[in-house]
Symmetry: C2
Subunit: 318 residues, 2 copies
């Protein structure tokens, strides 16, 4: 865009493609900041993205999400894969990772050149996650990651949201979480491709696993579609992690074979494009004195205009 | 719109204005269903809305939100006010109230003609709450409610969202919730106009109140602006509820006197108008084979087009 951008972006992209952590970090910061350079960045990254498997990991606080992510990343590294981790906290206005302390938490991998770890807060604006996550994933993807892990705190709406951000969604539960109403309310039954009952050495783990399996089977579709497995894990010791990763890989294979991968990625791209278009429209609406969204909103608030009439003016100037 | 609508809407609106619960319920169902009749409904309601004070009540699960709402509604009724209650669960795909059981829960008022109680699930689509809540509020407002209470489960993002939906936001906390990082992360320090430490008969309540007051004072702006009070309540016995209501009323007065009410309502209308405009755009985008959002998204997913280029085509056909 700007002359400065024209010089900076190709250099950053080239360095990121060589796996230079500082360049990757800088590109993700541009995503977080919704930088005007992003258009150029995404255009430059396009030819190099689309190869990584995007694994979403979610679950309620306390199920051992960090420990499980850490153990899974270690297993992926043993399999020779390059891994990127995005830890997303939709409730946090903070970004950049320092406040969330993930670099500390994921200390096992902090010095490993083939693991990128990054925390992102969700921006306050509409469509924040739908927009910024695919872009950050695209950066890590183009930088040569074989797997991009998107870890989110799973609370209500954001849990459902994360399902749309990944190719494969792994839902973690803890023993005792089998309470039917809780599970249904949290929507976890609809979003998981693979489930792990973590802390499986605790009492009630096997019962939780059976109950979850039963609840899932009630919602399962016809033959030929994916049947979500429920695995026992003890992330702190690594028990069950290799088996869990094998199921994640099996799902990745199923996605590709069934055509579901393209469907999911199209849905994700749709939300991303919509969010970008909406942001562009907002800029126009704010800049246009003739329509002036704030002026229209003021008239709606004052009872002079109904909201549909205001939307008409906004869209068509009438 | 349709001939049927042309006949049905004026009748429903007239009956709702007379306070007939079935008509109010039917109009809110139209809001939940994003009915095509809504445009006509909102146009018809416009002249009669804008009088109710909208009180948002939020807080983490377990703080006694239902009991507090119940006690506040009882106090408002004693003051002769007509009250509408919208209980919103942003994480629930369910709507209509039956599944949330609010009618059972709010049993004290179920037979009281001057209290409307309604549960709403958040719709899955972008901008769901920003759109449906102001419309449901408008229905209750035009039906003659003096106060519309919007109660939400407070978890992360939705907590911040609810702050934008109300004139006054009441945040409930429980003793022990004084942990600074928790409070900051949940964003509760930024959204409350009035705070109540409920279950104030429990150990640690006074300390939580002091800590919360201290944290709030750090973020307070210049003189003349509102200083959020922190009150002790025991909703189950009604202790402190009258005092809490007095602070809510005092805030309503401050809103009107300071000009802040118009500012907040304009911001709310802005989000509502945007959400309506976006939905209209989506319909156009989906209907237009020439641009075809799904086709564009497919090209982005396949790496043939970058998301900004797709947004350009969407907006300007190029």
């Amino acid at each position: 865009m700007t002359r400065r951008g024209a010089a900076v972006v190709p250099d950053l992209v080239a360095r990121a493609r060589e796996g230079e952590p500082a360049a990757v970090a800088r590109l993700i910061t541009l995503v977080e900041d919704a930088s005007p350079l992003l258009r150029e960045v995404m255009t430059a990254l396009r030819p190099y993205a689309g190869h990584a498997h995007v694994l979403g990991i979610t679950g309620a606080p306390g199920v051992g999400k960090s420990t499980s992510t850490n153990a899974l990343v270690a297993a992926m590294r043993r399999a020779g894969k390059r891994v990127g981790v995005l830890a997303i906290d939709p409730s946090s206005p903070f970004s950049g990772g320092a406040l969330l302390g993930d670099r500390v938490r994921m200390g096992d991998h902090a010095l490993d050149r083939d693991v990128y770890i990054r925390s992102m807060g969700a921006r306050g604006h509409l469509g924040g996650l739908a927009w910024s996550t695919p872009q950050a994933v695209r950066v890590l993807d183009a930088a040569g990651c074989d797997v991009v892990v998107v870890e989110t705190v799973g609370v209500g709406q954001s849990e459902v949201e994360v399902a749309g951000l990944a190719d494969t969604t792994l839902v973690l539960v803890a023993p005792g979480m089998g309470d039917g109403i809780q599970a249904a309310k949290a929507g976890i039954l609809e979003i998981g491709d693979v489930y792990a009952v973590n802390k499986a050495d605790r009492e009630g783990a096997e019962r939780t696993r059976r109950e979850l399996r039963t609840m899932l089977s009630m919602g399962e579709r016809s033959e030929g579609s994916w049947r979500a497995p429920v695995l026992p894990t003890v992330a702190s010791t690594g028990d069950g992690i290799e088996e869990l990763l094998a199921e994640v890989d099996r799902h990745a294979g199923w996605l590709a074979d069934s055509g579901e991968l393209a469907r999911r990625r199209t849905a994700r791209a749709r939300r991303e494009v919509e969010a970008i278009a909406l942001a562009a429209l907002r800029e126009r609406w704010d800049a246009d004195d003739q329509v002036g969204l704030d002026r229209l909103a003021g008239r709606v608030a004052a009872g002079e205009l109904d909201p549909y009439g205001a939307a008409d003016v906004l869209l068509d100037g009438r």
